[in-house]
Amino acid sequence: MIAALLVMVGLAVVIGLALGWSAVRFKVEGNPLAEKIDAILPQTQCGQCGFPGCRPYAEAIARGEADINQCPPGGEEGVKKLAELLGVEPKPLDETHGTPKPKSVAFIDENLCIGCTLCIQACPVDAIVGAAKQMHTVIASECTGCELCVPPCPVDCISMVPVAEDLPHWKFKHPLVMMKQVGGARG
């Protein structure tokens, strides 16, 4: 009886020590769930979800403080992916946070720009170049289309231009869609 108890206590101590040591030794940096959620989010950094960027939103979802349907740039598909990851039912996008829009990039009308640098400070991905009293311009390939630069502009010289489809970015349409288009053209 005593021997059995001792064996069990001994085992408990040894295993406890091993677990405690490995918890310290193999400690995971950061929140792995937030990491995974962040990988799904579109990284627009637009803040429409109510958080200052995609990462804070991902962390809020991981903590259970935010819902999965607050990201309009991610769209329904993003919600679906998040639902799959978190094992919850997908739900329609929360319209109060905005609606999905076609991908666009900011465009600065250089005739109107006064070089105030307010848009540069607003841009979350440093995609606007320029200096005080110098004309600014958007690096289109780096722009996420978050629209954060539009409201600060004092002369309203920034507009959002939808990205036109060009040959390298053209996609084959779903065959059924193509058939419907053909049918529409004939009928």
Partner: protein, 555 residues
């Protein structure tokens, strides 16, 4: 012939429709009045224009240079004047415009100075750069820059396969090329052999082209290296690179690998011919053989300048009423063209004019009954019915697990499908969706990295500013402490007081500096006016000082 041929899995026997066009000799198509030469004719980076609008160019002159390693130059196909550089309609199924150089030809067709390349004297890397500048790209359909394929790199390529399969129905340009220019094809092979170091050279030709086989065998007899010309059974798609490798060697290219990984490189006969023209005549790739067939009066092959509008060729072959569209390529893998006015490019092997009699419209698509006839004929040994299911449902991850990217889009599955499902369209859709998602993923990763760097930068700037201020304050304090120490140390509080006094004095000095300077020597009336205004100001100030209640009690 002792070589044992192997049979790849699947494939279909098709009516070959070769006799329509292979009975007529090759005609040189006349120089059109206008050439539209796209800059994106090959896989890789589009060429970069090096000419200006209004510039005179000669035949064979570089008008756009290769941009990077995987790229190829583009040349003027005839002499004339550059009239436009910019978007124009190109032979792409999307119908989207792309950058092109338009040349108004002068009819002289005057060549630029050109000379053969002494390929044996050049270092292999230099020779490859010369070939890239000659605009060479695979003419079998994929238009991959040949200079890249001719770099054996880390892999040895003991086997070089010259592909004369031409398995797709209706197309006969490779057949005619082998019949009439077999010697030059093998001259090109000589250069390929030189660059790749291949010891075994196999020419695979489908056995429905006996004249081509005979011509190639006759030419091969006159060469100082061994060339094995092999007739392979006619079954579509025997001319696919991977299928040709399996037929001739019995080896399969593993999924996701290149043929060079198993020591085999494959070139189309047209590419070998273009290489011979480039090396032994100094002529860049400015023309190619094009089969014009289908619903035309005289189906035949033309030697066509790159950039010639397809309609000119259709006119030459005899345009007919009742055409319902133009395919670039054959009926199995060809792409419908947005217009018959699009130019011929390096990838154009065939212009197939459709009519309702030759290509009746497909009956309505029915549901998949999972008969797996598609799986039986798939030469890539895939499960087309599963790929269709996943592509239709948008489950692209599963489609990739089922090796979607091993699909060569040969069209056998669509051909045999009893439900008339355009299966290949679904695979193309799924592939381009996957590519688009990968692009989006890369863009998102870039945005994340940039955002994180911005946060880091803001934090760093804040810290640097704080440190700078602290250092400045420290210096000032030390300075004042030194001053205070001279008349007798009075402690920290006095130092602070002195600091404030100094700041006040500075502020006063600044204020005095900005006092208005235009009030001296004023005429008396102006002076009076100013005094009146000052008096009014004083009154207002007085009013403003009164308590608020009195303001409210007033009516």
């Amino acid at each position: 012939m002792t070589r044992v041929l192997h049979r790849f899995k699947g494939g279909v026997h098709l009516p070959d429709h070769k006799a329509e066009s292979n009975g007529r000799p090759i005609h040189a198509a006349p120089v059109p009045r206008q050439l539209v030469i796209p800059l994106r004719q090959h896989i890789g980076n589009p060429a970069r224009p090096v000419v200006e609008v209004g510039q005179q160019v000669l035949k064979g002159q570089i008008i756009a240079e290769a941009d990077g390693y995987i790229s190829a130059a583009v040349h003027a196909s005839s002499s004339g004047t550059v009239t436009a550089i910019g978007p124009a309609l190109v032979p792409h199924v999307s119908g989207l415009p792309d950058d092109c150089i338009t040349i108004e030809t002068d009819g002289r067709d005057a060549w630029i100075d050109h000379a053969p390349i002494d390929y044996q004297a050049l270092a292999p890397a230099d020779l490859r750069m010369r070939l890239r500048d000659m605009g060479l790209a695979g003419l079998g359909g994929a238009v991959f820059p040949s200079a890249v394929k001719l770099d054996p790199g880390a892999h040895a390529c003991p086997t070089l396969i010259v592909n004369g399969g031409e398995c797709e129905p209706w197309i006969t340009c490779d057949d005619l090329l082998m019949r009439t220019r077999a010697d030059e094809i093998l001259q090109g092979v000589r250069v390929m052999r030189h660059l790749l170091g291949s010891t075994e050279i196999l020419v695979g030709i489908e056995d429905n082209k006996p004249e081509a086989i005979a011509a190639m065998q006759a030419a091969a007899a006159g060469f100082d290296f061994a060339v094995e010309v092999i007739a392979v059974p006619t079954i579509y798609p025997a001319g696919g690179a991977k299928q040709m490798i399996e037929t001739l060697t019995g080896r399969q290219v593993p999924s996701g690998k290149l043929s060079t990984d198993i020591g085999i490189q494959v070139f189309n006969v047209g590419t070998a011919y273009a290489l011979a023209r480039a090396v032994f005549h100094g002529e860049p790739l400015i023309s190619r053989l094009v089969t014009v067939t289908g619903h035309v009066l005289r189906p035949q092959n033309f030697e066509v300048l790159i950039g010639t509008p397809m309609q000119r060729l259709i006119d030459l072959a005899g345009d007919r009423d009742g055409a319902t569209g133009v395919l670039m390529g054959g009926p199995m893998m060809g792409m419908p063209m947005p217009s018959s006015e699009v130019p011929v490019v390096k990838a154009t092997n065939c212009i197939l004019v459709k009519s309702d009699a030759l290509f009746p419209p497909l009956p309505a698509m029915l549901p998949c009954i999972r008969c797996t006839r598609c799986a039986d004929v798939c030469p890539a040994e895939l499960q087309p019915q599963e790929l269709f299911r996943f592509a239709k449902a948008g489950d692209f991850g599963r489609a990739q697990e089922y090796h979607l990217f091993d699909c060569i889009e040969c069209g056998c599955c669509s051909y045999v499908c009893p439900s008339h499902i355009p299966l290949v369209d679904y695979y193309r859709y799924a592939k381009s969706e996957i590519w688009a998602r990968e692009r989006e993923k890369r863009a998102a990763d870039l945005a994340r990295a940039r955002h994180e760097f911005r946060l880091f930068r803001l934090e760093r700037e804040k810290k640097e500013k704080a440190e700078k201020l602290a250092a400045k304050a420290q210096a000032k304090r030390a300075e004042l402490a030194a001053e205070a120490a001279a008349p007798g140390a009075t402690g920290e509080a006095d130092a602070k007081k002195a600091l404030i006094a100094a700041a006040l004095a500075r502020a006063q000095a600044k204020k005095a500096e900005v006092a208005p300077k235009n009030i001296d020597q004023l005429p008396p009336d102006k002076q009076r006016e100013i005094e009146e205004i000052e008096a009014r100001r004083a009154k207002i100030r007085e009013l403003a000082r009164q308590p608020l209640e009195t303001d409210e009690t007033k009516p």
